[in-house]
């Protein structure tokens, strides 16, 4: 008999795996010159809950070292109808992983005839984060995401964040990732303690607070873009699914932040 698969499925699909988590080549080629690598990293992405769901905002800047490579990057990406991944770290790696996850979730649902569970999805993301760790260690850039989703079983939004090794944590109020997230960490707590928990804020308020935090991050982190040229990206997940925050709503939210005129500081020398 021939050495061919005896079952029809393998005869059709062949021996190669259907989906394999991408691993970049040259990972063991020694540490690259971190100053001149072609890797984009810095960013700030933010997820906050609100009364009817969860809002994600992200700046649009993609950097490589000290260069701004792109000012229209989309860092809040849909994995399925109810799940957003806000990405930080290597842009190339992030985009590839998001493509992988989208296919992995759909492939599971179509082949198994049932959607992947939330826990299953969170584990897939954790694996993708952990697989990027060797690259991150070499300065090639791993990626760290925040996952926001609507949990139909619980009837409420949920936010999960990860560390560089793929450990998963759930947050009751907010999540932030990227180089600018460190600087604004305390500001989240300040908002929650002095104003209101994000999860009790109306959508307009939560959007405004998230944009203000993004604006502070852009002020304090060189790799996070403001919105002088391009408006930030904002998306919302509710029980009805994912919606983009439209241009009009975004413009009025940004205008409502009341950034005054620039200060003139005289030369006292």
């Amino acid at each position: 008999m021939r050495g061919e698969p005896t079952d029809l499925r393998s005869a059709i699909a062949g021996p190669e795996p259907v989906l394999a988590l991408p691993v970049h080549p040259g990972m063991s080629a020694g540490a690259p010159d971190a100053g001149h690598g072609q890797v984009a990293h810095g960013t700030t992405v933010i997820a906050v809950k609100c009364i009817d769901g969860v809002i994600n905002v992200g700046d649009r800047r993609a950097t490589a070292s000290y260069s701004v490579m792109y000012d229209q990057a989309e860092k809040v990406l849909a994995l399925d109808d109810f799940t957003l991944l806000a990405i930080s770290g290597s842009y190339a790696r992030s985009i590839e992983v998001v493509r992988y996850l989208r296919h992995a979730f759909r492939y599971f649902e179509r082949s198994q005839l049932q959607p992947m569970s939330l826990d299953g999805k969170l584990s897939e993301v954790a694996r993708a984060v952990a697989a990027g760790l060797p690259m991150a260690m070499q300065g090639l850039g791993g990626f760290i995401p925040i996952l926001s989703t609507w949990d139909p079983a619980a009837g409420e939004p949920r936010i999960f964040f990860y560390d560089a090794m793929g450990a998963r944590f759930e947050s009751a109020e907010y999540g932030a990732a990227g180089s600018g997230s460190v600087q604004i960490r305390g500001a989240f707590e300040y908002v929650v303690r002095t104003k209101s928990p994000f999860r009790r804020m109306p959508r307009a308020d939560a959007l405004r607070e998230a944009l203000r935090l993004l604006d502070i991050a852009a002020d304090l982190d060189a790799a996070t873009g403001g919105w002088a040229k391009v408006l930030p990206l904002a998306r919302v997940i509710t029980a009805d699914g994912i919606q983009d925050v439209g241009e009009a709503e975004l413009r009025s939210a940004v205008a409502g932040l009341g950034q005054g005129e620039a200060t003139f500081v005289a030369d006292r020398g």
């Binding site: 008999m1 005896t6 079952d7 029809l8 499925r9 393998s10 005869a11 059709i12 699909a13 062949g14 190669e16 795996p17 259907v18 989906l19 109808d81 493509r99 992988y100 296919h103 759909r106 492939y107 649902e109 179509r110 082949s111 005839l113």
Partner: protein, 263 residues
């Protein structure tokens, strides 16, 4: 062992009979390409019958459940590997059926040491424009046929021809309800043709759509059958255009048909 040409023909015909026998009792499937999207319409008993293959592609079939499952999951495998490695735009029914499925089924059918797959499948694909919609019906022997406006899969060629004729008369601007109703009546006509001709050799006439016969047959079959419809929604903004409609969503259409009312 030497095979003479006679033996070869004999063997092929026996395998063909075996497969046709297995397909005959399968519940037919009607396919329609309309302005609103692409539909696969059928009546099922216990197993579900319409499946999503990829973002803009779905599948239904008659035959052995295990063979349908193998073809389905093989197709899903190939589509996702291609869609991930290249692009979703490169996943087309023409490539999937022509290069991945047909050669394998043909080889299996002609391999004397293995049982042929008992399956007749219809792949429905929604293009960017209604004119680009395509149906591929794929047979157990690897033969496949492309059509654009409508498609029919049933237990006998006569039933399929009858069904295709009725489906071709559905206007492309039909509403979802009208289209499902027309598809179900065509289904009933095909089912009559199959069951009134148990040998599968005769020329049993089916009932024209809307006749008391088709309506009665449908009402009878819906006693222990359930309507299942797969929709590739042209208006949807999701990447995955597939939606499976159960009877809950089609009550306005199905309830009168269950009562045996033609209107």
């Amino acid at each position: 062992m030497m095979l003479s040409p006679y033996d070869f023909n004999e063997a092929i015909n026996q395998r063909r009979d075996h497969a046709e026998e297995g397909l005959r009792q399968g519940s037919p499937v009607a396919g329609l390409s309309l302005d609103l999207g692409v539909l696969l319409i059928t009546v099922r008993r216990t197993q579900r019958k319409v499946y999503e293959v990829y973002d803009r592609m779905m599948l239904s079939a008659v035959g052995n459940q295990s063979d349908i499952e193998a073809v389905r999951i093989g197709a899903v495998d190939v589509a996702h590997r291609e869609g991930y490695q290249r692009s979703p735009d490169d996943v087309t029914a023409q490539r999937l059926v022509g290069f991945s499925l047909s050669p394998v089924l043909k080889e299996l059918f002609r391999d004397q040491w293995r049982a042929p797959a008992v399956v007749r499948a219809v792949f429905a694909e929604m293009g960017q424009l209604p004119a680009d919609d395509a149906f591929f019906t794929l047979n157990y022997d690897g033969e496949f046929v492309r059509s654009s406006r409508c498609a029919a899969v049933a237990g006998t060629p006569e039933a399929e021809a009858l069904m295709a004729e009725e489906l071709a008369a559905v206007p492309s601007d039909a509403s979802l309800g009208d289209a499902v109703r027309a598809g179900l009546l065509a289904w009933a006509g095909a089912w009559q043709a199959v069951t009134s001709d148990p040998g599968g050799r005769g020329q049993a006439p089916g009932a024209p759509a809307g006749s008391a016969d088709a309506v009665g047959t449908l009402a009878e079959q819906l006693k222990d059958g359930r309507v299942e419809v797969g929709l590739l929604d042209r208006a949807s903004r999701r990447e995955s255009r597939f939606r499976r409609l159960g009877e809950e969503e089609l009550t306005d259409v199905v309830a009168p048909l269950r009562r045996g009312s033609g209107e």
